[in-house]
């Protein structure tokens, strides 16, 4: 399960998408808005996306992680819009019979989000002003070149 959402992320509801009697490990990763960037005090972040592309890219990332995990028990939510310090911007829940695959799949999802999800953030500063956060030159997934 994956989605871009505008409302606050409720972690209990994310966790409810994963878990099975066969699973001995459940992991929840949360990305949270922090109060500083490059030595400046941050009061909030505005996230925007190329939604028509970001939704399928996020779904692809979740599918790829499912293959690593060996189960489909992954839930990924990315929030868009205006967030304040402490709010959850991304949640990745994973469950599996054993911890090793769960850690691997969780890490895969967040690293791929950072590399290729078409999402941008504008940081608002306490001293006034705002700026687009420096991002990462996107790296499409390894299979995309052979597909075209």
């Amino acid at each position: 399960m994956s989605a871009l959402v505008r409302e606050p992320i409720e972690t209990e509801r994310v966790l409810a998408h994963v878990g099975d009697a066969a699973d001995g490990a459940t992991l929840l990763f949360l990305g949270v808005v922090r109060d500083h960037a490059d030595g400046r005090t941050v009061t909030g972040i505005r996230y925007e996306a190329y939604e028509e592309m970001a939704a399928p890219v996020l779904a692809d990332i979740a599918d790829e992680a499912c293959r690593l995990l060996g189960t489909d028990r992954i839930a990924v939510l990315h929030r868009l819009g205006d967030l304040t310090v402490g709010e959850v911007s991304v949640a990745v829940a994973v469950s599996s019979p054993h911890r090793s695959e769960a850690y691997e799949a969780s890490r895969y999802v967040i690293e791929q989000i950072k590399q290729r999800l078409p999402v941008w953030k504008k940081e608002c500063f306490a001293e006034g002003g705002e700026a687009w956060a420096e991002g990462t030159e996107p790296r499409p997934d390894p299979d995309s070149r052979s597909r075209t």
Partner: protein
């Protein structure tokens, strides 16, 4: 016959374009790279676009060498900052 394509701008690139989208006509056989070059040649803030930005063609990452067709949606993708 010229090609009619829609170009989308996001985040810092939208600030340069002053708009979130632009409808363009390009000569037949034009590539995504030709589109980027024509935008940069318009001058003004768009001249600050990188010569080889990341691009998406019809909502998938694409290459500057990819050919355009009428009705295509081209997005210029600034460095991404999700998570």
């Amino acid at each position: 016959m010229p090609l009619a394509v829609r170009t989308l701008f996001f985040a810092a690139y939208r600030d340069l374009a002053g708009s979130s989208s632009l409808d363009l006509e390009l000569p037949e056989g034009a590539t995504v790279g030709d589109l980027v070059a024509s935008l940069r040649a318009r001058g003004g803030p768009l001249a600050e676009l990188p010569p080889r930005p990341a691009v998406a063609l019809n909502r998938s990452y694409a290459r500057l060498e990819d050919r355009l067709h009428t009705g295509d949606e081209v997005a210029l993708i600034p460095p991404v900052a999700g998570g």
